[in-house]
C-alpha cells in the first residue's frame, strides 16, 4: 500500500501531527513533565527519602535559601571560572588547529583523526585515566612538565591551586577537537574567490585573516562555544571521576553540588529550587547569546 493511499482522507495538518505526535509525547513525558514537577517541588519541603512524609508548601523559602547560601555562590564561582578558561582555551586552540588542518599537507587526514579521538571517549573514562596521568609519583604529566622545567613532585589534583587547572586542562584536551571541527567546517565554507580578490587588492595574510577568515568563521566558533558552554555548565562525570569536587570544594561545580543535595542528602524541594535557578540561568544566558550570535551573523 502506498503512503499516499494509506493517508488518504487525512488532512496535511493531521499527517503532520501523526509524524510529530510521538516525539511531542516523548518530549512531554521525559522533559516537560519532570520540569513542571521540579518547579512544583521547588515550593515544598519535600524529601524523597522520607517515606510517608507529605511535602508541605513553603513558598519561596527554598529559593531564598539557595540564593543566600554562601557555599552556593562559591560553587557558582568555581563553575564560572571553569567555563571561562575552558571556553577561552578551546576557542583559541580549536581555531588554531582548524587553521592548521585547513591547509593541504601530507598526513592531514590522519592527523585530523588523531586529534578528534579524545572527544570520542567517555568522560568518566577520561576522568579515571587522567587521575593516573596526574599522579605525582608515576604519572606522565609530572614527568613531561619536569622534562621541560624541573618543578619536582607536584600534586595536580591534591592542591587547591592546581586542581581547578587540572580539570580545565582535561576538558580542553577532550573538547578542543569539537571546536576545531566546527571551525574547520566554517573555514571550508569560505569561498576561494574572496581570498583571490584580496590577493588582487594586495591584502596581507594578516588582513585576509582579520577581514575574511575571522568574520566567516566567527558564527561557527560562537555556535561551538554555545554548545560547549551549555555542556560545561552542567559538567559532572569527568570532574567527579577526576577530583570528586575536591580538594575540599575547590572543584565542586554547581552540578556536582546539585547532585549531592538532590540524591545524597535527598533535599528534593531545596535542590529542585537550585535546579530551577540553574535552568533559568543557562536558559537566559543561552537566549542572550543566541541573539548576539544572530546579530553577528547578520553583519
Amino acid at each position: 500500500m502506498s503512503v499516499k493511499k494509506k493517508f488518504k482522507g487525512l488532512s496535511d495538518k493531521a499527517v503532520g501531527w501523526l509524524f510529530i505526535g510521538p516525539t511531542v509525547l516523548l518530549l512531554l513525558a521525559i522533559n516537560i513533565y519532570p520540569l513542571v514537577y521540579a518547579i512544583k517541588m521547588s515550593f515544598t519541603n519535600f524529601y524523597a527519602n522520607k517515606i510517608g512524609r507529605e511535602p508541605q508548601f513553603v513558598g519561596l523559602k527554598n529559593y531564598i535559601k539557595v540564593l543566600n547560601k554562601e557555599a552556593i555562590w562559591e560553587k557558582m564561582q568555581v563553575t564560572a571560572s571553569f567555563m571561562f578558561w575552558t571556553l577561552l582555551l578551546q576557542a583559541i586552540i580549536g581555531l588554531g588547529l582548524a587553521l592548521l588542518l585547513n591547509r593541504k599537507f601530507k598526513g592531514n587526514e590522519l592527523l585530523t583523526t588523531l586529534i578528534v579521538l579524545p572527544m570520542m571517549l567517555s568522560p568518566a573514562v577520561v576522568g579515571v585515566f587522567w587521575t593516573y596521568l596526574y599522579n605525582p609519583q608515576v604519572g606522565l604529566f609530572n614527568y613531561v612538565v619536569n622534562f621541560f622545567y624541573d618543578l619536582g613532585s607536584f600534586d595536580m589534583i591534591g592542591s587547591s591551586t592546581l586542581a581547578p587547572w587540572a580539570i580545565v586542562i582535561v576538558d580542553t584536551w577532550m573538547w578542543t577537537p569539537f571546536t576545531m571541527l566546527i571551525c574547520l567546517a566554517g573555514l571550508r565554507s569560505v569561498p576561494n574567490y574572496l581570498y583571490e580578490a584580496a590577493e588582487v587588492d594586495r591584502a596581507s595574510k594578516w588582513q585576509q585573516f582579520i577581514y575574511i577568515t575571522l568574520p566567516s568563521v566567527l558564527p561557527f566558533l560562537l555556535l561551538a562555544l554555545l554548545f560547549r558552554g551549555i555542556e560545561n555548565f552542567k559538567m559532572f562525570d569527568m570532574v567527579v571521576e577526576l577530583t570528586s569536587g575536591g580538594p575540599g570544594s575547590a572543584t565542586e561545580l554547581a552540578s556536582i553540588n546539585l547532585k549531592r543535595e538532590a540524591f545524597e542528602k535527598w533535599k528534593t524541594g531545596y535542590s529542585s529550587a537550585f535546579a530551577v535557578i540553574l535552568f533559568v540561568t543557562i536558559f537566559g544566558f543561552g537566549n542572550v547569546y543566541v541573539k548576539v550570535m544572530n546579530k553577528i551573523k547578520e553583519r
Partner: protein, 434 residues
C-alpha cells in the same frame, strides 16, 4: 511437534518458577569478605537447596546504589548487608524487617553476640531491644605496619637515638607521627618510602572515617550526653580541634605524594606496593594482607592508638531482610543458618569477622591470626558516626569541611568543625529533632 513445543514450554516455565522460588539475592559491598561469604554460602545452598545470588557493589557507589534501591522500595535484594549507619533509616523508613519475633521463634539470642556489635549493627533506637539486623561482619579501623622495616637494626638504633624510645607499635598518636615522619622520604632498598597511607577520600565517607579515628582518641563526643543533639562544645571541643589539627599534620608530614583522595583500596595499594610504612584501614583487609605474608615477617597489625582515651572508629555491618522482598521467608532462613555457631566459626576461618561470642570467646581465638587480638581489643573501644536516618545528610558536610581543611588547607580546624555543626543543626531541625 506441537506436543514437543508444549512440553518444552511447560518444563521451561516450571524451571523458571522453581528457580525463582528457591533463590534469593544478597547485596553487599565488593571486597574480600564478600568473596568469603560467597564461599561460605555454598554450604547453605547444599543444606537447603536455596540458591543465593550475590550483587556486590564497589565501595564508592555502595551507599548510593543500596540506599536508592531502598528508597525506591526495590525488590532486587532480599538480604542486605548494610553499613552500621544505615540502621536508623532502615528502621524509621521501614526498609528493614524487624527481627524480634523471628529471633524469639527461632531461639536466636542477641546475648550470644558481642554487645558492641549488637548495639551498633542491630538496634534502633540505639541500645533498645528492637532488632533490625543480625551482626554479620565486625570491623573497626586499625593499622598495619612494615614489621620488616621496623626490625632492621640500623633503623631501630637511628630511631631510638632520635626519639629516645623504641621503634615499634606506637603507644599513642604522637609516637605514630614520629614513626611516620621517620620513614617519610627515606630510601630503603633503593626506593623512596613514605610515612602513612591515611584516609583522605572526599566523595563518600573516607576522610570522616579517618579523622574520627583521631577525634575519638582525643575524647571527642558528638553531643552533650545529657542533652541530645546539643553539639556546641562537644563536637568542636578543644580536644576535637586538636585532633583535627593533628590529622592534618599527619597528612602534610607523612602521606605519600598524590594521596589526597584515598580510601580503602588506595591505602591498601600504597602499602602493598611498598610505598608506605603504615596504612590505616579496616580489619576486613587484614586477612588479605596477612595471606601474602605467610611467615608474618613483613606485616604487623595494631589497634587504633590511644591519645587521651582508647577508642577506634567502628566499621562493619549487620545483615537485614529487606521489607520489599517477596521472599522474606527464604531470607530469614538464611539468617537462621548464618546465626548458627558452627557457621560463624567457619565464617571467621574463611576471613569474615564473626561477632558471635562462641567464636570470640574461644580460648584459641586471640592467637588464631596475628590480628585477632587487635580485633578483640578494637571491638571493645569502638565508636560510630551518627546512625540517624539522616546520616548521609550528616556525613556529606563533614566530608567537605574536613577535606577542605586537611587536604585543601583552608581555614582552621575550629572553623571546619563549627561549619559542620551549623549544617548538622539544619539537618536535625529539618528532621524535627531540634
Amino acid at each position: 511437534m506441537k506436543k514437543i513445543m508444549i512440553l518444552l514450554f511447560v518444563s521451561l516455565f516450571s524451571f523458571s518458577v522453581n528457580s525463582n522460588a528457591k533463590s534469593i539475592t544478597l547485596g553487599w559491598a565488593a571486597w574480600d569478605p564478600a568473596n568469603a561469604l560467597q564461599e561460605l554460602t555454598k554450604e547453605f545452598t547444599a543444606e537447603t537447596g536455596i540458591e543465593v545470588n550475590f550483587e556486590f557493589v564497589p565501595w564508592p557507589n555502595f551507599a548510593d546504589r543500596m540506599l536508592n534501591e531502598l528508597n525506591n522500595k526495590g525488590k532486587t535484594f532480599d538480604l542486605l548487608i548494610g553499613d552500621s549507619q544505615w540502621i536508623g533509616a532502615g528502621a524509621v523508613y521501614g526498609h528493614y524487617v524487624k527481627l524480634n519475633d523471628f529471633f524469639d521463634k527461632e531461639g536466636i539470642s542477641m546475648s550470644d553476640f558481642s554487645p558492641a556489635t549488637v548495639y551498633a549493627y542491630s538496634t534502633w533506637p540505639k541500645g533498645s531491644k528492637n532488632y533490625y539486623a543480625l551482626p554479620a561482619m565486625g570491623d573497626a579501623l586499625a593499622w598495619a605496619y612494615r614489621k620488616d622495616w621496623f626490625d632492621r637494626p640500623e633503623l631501630k638504633s637511628e630511631f631510638k637515638k632520635k626519639h629516645g624510645y623504641d621503634l615499634g607499635v606506637p603507644a599513642n598518636w604522637n609516637q605514630l607521627h614520629d614513626m611516620c615522619k621517620f620513614f617519610q622520604g627515606r630510601e630503603i632498598d633503593g626506593q623512596k618510602r613514605y610515612g602513612a597511607a591515611i584516609n583522605t577520600e572526599r566523595g563518600s565517607e573516607g576522610i570522616t572515617m579517618g579523622v574520627t579515628a583521631a577525634m575519638y582518641a582525643w575524647g571527642m563526643e558528638y553531643e552533650n550526653p545529657n542533652k541530645p543533639y546539643d553539639m556546641e562544645g562537644y563536637f568542636n571541643s578543644p580536644q576535637a580541634v586538636e585532633a583535627v589539627e593533628f590529622y592534618r599534620k599527619l597528612y602534610e608530614d607523612c602521606a605519600p605524594p598524590g594521596h589526597s583522595d584515598a580510601y580503602m583500596v588506595a591505602n591498601l595499594d600504597a602499602y602493598k606496593s611498598g610505598q608506605v610504612a603504615f596504612q590505616m584501614n579496616w580489619y576486613a583487609f587484614w586477612p588479605g594482607v596477612s595471606k601474602e605474608d605467610s611467615d608474618g615477617r613483613v606485616s604487623g597489625f595494631f589497634a587504633n592508638p590511644k591519645q587521651n582515651v582508647a577508642a577506634a572508629t567502628l566499621g562493619g555491618q549487620g545483615i537485614s531482610v529487606v521489607k520489599y522482598s517477596d521472599k522474606q521467608d527464604l531470607a530469614l532462613e538464611y539468617i537462621k543458618w548464618f546465626a548458627r555457631p558452627d557457621v560463624q566459626q567457619k565464617w571467621w576461618d574463611l576471613g569474615g569477622y564473626s561477632c558471635h561470642n562462641d567464636v570470640l570467646n574461644s580460648p584459641s581465638f586471640p592467637t588464631s591470626t596475628v590480628y585477632a587480638q587487635g580485633f578483640l581489643d578494637s571491638m571493645g573501644i569502638v565508636k560510630d558516626f551518627w546512625q540517624e536516618p539522616t546520616f548521609v545528610e550528616l556525613m556529606l558536610p563533614m566530608q567537605e569541611a574536613i577535606h577542605d581543611y586537611v587536604v585543601n588547607g583552608k581555614g582552621t580546624a575550629k572553623e571546619a568543625l563549627d561549619k559542620i555543626i551549623e549544617e548538622w543543626v539544619e539537618v536535625f531541625e529539618a528532621d524535627g529533632k531540634l
